[in-house]
Amino acid sequence: MPKRIKLIEAIIKQLESYSNPDEVIFFRGNVAYTPKKLIEHIKDLDETGLMLLEEVLKTATDMFIRGKK
């Protein structure tokens, strides 16, 4: 299975772990995101979905590089 699909599946699994899918988990600017809305964005791989994947990858890279130091 390609690694990017594994990543998407892992993110969706994490988002499905929230007890209330309609409860706001974070704000980005003035936009509130719920797990339900996030799963839709990531499944559709729309602009927001891609942005979220990019942010997750950047964070993972940052943690990996700092961990190496």
């Binding site: 706001v24 988990i25 974070f26 600017g29 942010e55 950047k58």
Partner: protein, 272 residues
């Protein structure tokens, strides 16, 4: 010190609370809160203060007031020239902060969208406020404050349990800037060259001024060359030539185009 914090949607319920926590530490001398945080009141209050604290929504070229209209944008950025501005809002450091920096303003803010998780909002509040607390309460340098704030965000990345807290702490950390010792980034190749040559002074150079200066130099070269040719061909007696009408007309048109600049220059001279 002027504290400004609108409150008009879900996200600003949090930013407003963060501002109130910060105010307890640094005690602004005047505050424009909620419905008072509008452009007209800001325009009256800002000239009386050397420091602005702004918590709420922003865009690349504006800080947004309680009525959704900008309280500070590229049209009134003069209000913060030679002042210190501490913002906790999205994007404003990208353009507005750069314009303010060109006017000798120290600008603290974010070049991208600010994100935070509801579960760990208190951690984001601490990271968002730490710079102002160390700067205005403990008198630390801007550079130290920036390092502290970035370390705070890094600490959140390393200790938070929620992965989205890690994601937004990393994102906020990477887009947090302080235009003081730090020179704003640019994607413009010409600006990059100028910054390499002149350092932070490169931000003071305006392309309009460069274009006008080059225009006058090239105009002078052309005029000199033309009059020399006329002299060589006809001598001093026939110096008045039709081509000079073109030069005079061109200069009048250029000056007409610059009438706003000339007016403002005359006003400045008159005031002095």
């Amino acid at each position: 010190m002027l504290g400004t914090a609108p409150k008009f949607d879900d996200a600003t319920q949090y930013s407003f609370k963060w501002y109130q926590e910060l105010a307890k530490e640094i005690h602004p001398t005047e505050e424009l809160l909620e419905s008072n945080a509008v452009r007209s009141k800001f325009a009256v209050s800002m000239p009386n203060h050397g420091i602005l604290i702004f918590y709420d929504h922003g865009d690349e070229d504006r800080l947004i007031g309680n009525d959704g209209n900008p309280i500070l944008d590229l049209n009134n950025v003069e209000l913060v020239s030679n002042k210190e501005v501490y913002t906790m809002c999205c994007l404003a450091a990208k353009k507005l902060g750069v314009e303010a920096y060109k006017k000798n303003c120290i600008w603290w803010g974010y070049t991208e969208v600010f994100g935070f998780t509801v579960e760990d909002e208190h951690l984001f509040m601490e990271a968002a406020n730490i710079g102002a607390i160390y700067r205005f309460k403990y008198n630390s340098s801007w550079k130290e404050c920036l390092e502290l704030a970035k370390e705070k965000f890094t600490g959140i990345i390393d200790t938070a349990i929620d992965p989205w807290t890690k994601v937004w702490a990393r994102s906020n950390r990477d887009c947090l800037v302080c235009y003081n010792g730090e020179v704003p980034n640019t994607s413009c190749v010409l600006r990059k060259i100028v910054l390499k040559l002149f350092g932070k002074l490169g931000w003071k150079i305006k392309w309009n001024t460069v274009a006008d200066t080059l225009f006058l130099i090239f105009y002078g070269i052309a005029l000199h060359d033309y009059s020399h040719q006329v002299y060589q061909l006809k001598g001093y007696h026939n110096l008045i030539e039709g081509g000079y009408i073109g030069f005079i007309g061109g200069l009048i048109c250029w000056l007409y185009n610059k009438k706003a600049f000339i007016k403002s220059l005359c006003n400045k001279l008159r005031r002095k």
